[in-house]
Amino acid sequence: MTNTMTRAAFVAALSLGASSPALAQTLDEKVNEIFASSTGWFVDFIFSPFPGTSFPWIVAWLVVAATVFTIYFGFIQFRAFPHSIALVRGDYADPDDAGEVSHFQALATALSGTVGLGNIAGVAVAVGIGGPGATFWMILAGLLGMASKFTECTLAVKYRNEYPDGTVSGGPMYYMTKGMAQRGLPGGRILAVMFAVFCILGALGGGNMFQANQAHAQITNVVGNYPGWITGVVFAAIVFAVIVGGLKSIARVTEKVVPFMGVMYVSVALVIVLANYDKIGWAFGQIFAGAFTGLGVAGGMVGALIQGFKRAAFSNEAGVGSAAIAHSAVRTKEPATEGFVSLLEPFIDTVVICTMTALVIIITGQLVSDPETGRYVLAEGGKMIATVDGNTGVALTSAAFSSTFGWFKYVLALAVILFAFSTMISWSYYGLKAWTYLFGEGHIKELIFKLIFCAFVVVGAAASLGPVIDFSDAAIFAMAVVNIAALYMLMPIVRDEVNGYLSRLKSGEITKHR
């Protein structure tokens, strides 16, 4: 009797064990299918190219805006660069304000929201499709993007809401409504609502599902394949503990480890680049040559340009409006100072970190080129450059670093998971701010958003990469459509603000405190 029961239980366990992967597989596929079919139209619209070309209008929208702001503010990102560093170091901080949010803290928090997969996986994708030349366009877009970031963060501080209890709420929603009303322009409220809707979608997409998806991909790379929803549930539980349970300790550990990981990543990249110092000149040669000739990549020079611009924009989020939400919390009497500090963000994110990733991939020879012609060999399908081991995305970056330091793939896996987590925490906050802007503040309302956010972690980890990455990019770029429209209308206000500040700085009215 006992024996029969045991055997029955054993058989049941076996069949359960056998059926559950199949069950999970279909669940993953189902999630994927529903997701792709329900978001496809939105993605198609955002990435539609100019008629008769392959150039997506959204990329032009971002780069043209960054160029306009750069010229309008007289190359502020270069003129004010030393002053930005001095502000972050705290040279101008009033000692009596100690205990308030410092410029450094606002920058670090905003950076931990942007530094992440874009810098590791995104760059690998860009270089894999667009070739080394994509790096050139990425750096250019990063430098121009500094002006966009400067514009939005100055406005975010100027028009934030300060409540009687001392908390603040800021971001594009607030400068759209208040700033445009001040200029006597209509439509501020409509723009703000649109922005808030896209911000919620972006938070659930790029700020959540993409991160969960890539974290899962990293874990399976190290421990072997298993269903995505398991990672999703674990991640969702941790995110839940932090954003709903108020478990600050996890968040605090992450916020401390992430900058450390960032510094380590750049240091290791630097060591690899210096160890191959004889190839540095060649690598830059490839970057410049590829930027203008394409060196045989799919789409030629335009292909390289699109990839570079796209990845820069997705990585540093300049013009998107997300960082404006994080920067608005700093305690400063001068909105312009936060603009100056924030312009360092695209510099660190794109010009330093992304470039390091690209250099390591190029220098370690991951991309296969024809020794006769010097042109890159395309992989089957003709869309991507062939790589040594057929890697793309994070795996390509991982292979590039591991070719010098074998152990680095484990560090990288951990870094990706932590970056993913910190980006999720930041975006849960951005999404929440947009949510409360639409629906009002209140415990129940906020809880609803947080629960939705956690549910999407599971969806993101279970879905396959294609539809998720498309939707993430699309939602975040949609934020930029609305945000940049508002920035154009509000840029005279920023100019007055900056000119006023700079003249007071020059006259000695604003002085260093140390």
């Binding site: 705290g90 901080a93 000692p95 100690a98 205990g99 308030e100 949010v101 410092s102 450094f104 803290q105 606002a106 670090a108 928090t109 931990s112 929201g113 209890d165 001392g166 908390t167 603040v168 709420s169 600050k248 968040a251 605090r252 916020e255 401390k256 992430v258 900058p259 939400i325 994080a326 919390a329 700093v330 305690r331 925490i425 930041s426 906050y429 951005y430």
Partner: protein
């Protein structure tokens, strides 16, 4: 010249002993006391977005709590001590900020208490007493 004694105070028994010690000296030398409380703070620490948003509110609460729970009771107990007592409340690195307070108040000496333990942490990172002894521009008295 009258003496101004700055005493670091955190509510601990050691800090109370330091206050008492400084008080006795101040009485003898016709001096005054500045009781200083420093809230440990670094502008280079990392905060989550939610912490950024609430920082101003938290700071206000922390200052109020320190004033009410630490400085006010001490001031009340020293009311009849026969020595003028002031307070100072600031954020920052404890030893550096104590030096700053001494500088601003025209302090002629700094007094701090010590709890008598030497932990592994203080061996590696240094203690408040150790750092003060090395950096202060006025004499420092450490009360065991």
């Amino acid at each position: 010249m009258s003496q101004t004694f700055v005493v670091g105070y955190d509510g601990s028994d050691a800090a109370r002993r330091a206050v008492q010690f400084a008080l006795d000296r101040a009485r003898d030398q016709n001096g005054r006391l500045v009781v200083a409380h420093v809230l440990e703070w670094s502008p280079y620490s990392f905060l989550t977005p939610t912490e950024l948003e609430e920082r101003h509110k938290r700071r206000r609460e922390e200052l109020q709590r320190a004033e009410k729970a630490l400085l006010k009771p001490l001031l009340d107990s020293l009311k009849d001590a026969g020595v003028p007592v002031e307070t100072a409340l600031k954020y920052g690195n404890i030893s550096d900020t104590l030096c700053d307070i001494a500088g601003e108040a025209g302090g002629t000496q700094i007094f701090i208490g010590r709890n008598g333990h030497s932990t592994m942490g203080s061996r590696i990172f240094g203690s408040v007493a150790g750092r003060l002894a090395q950096t202060a521009s006025v004499p420092v008295t450490i009360v065991p």
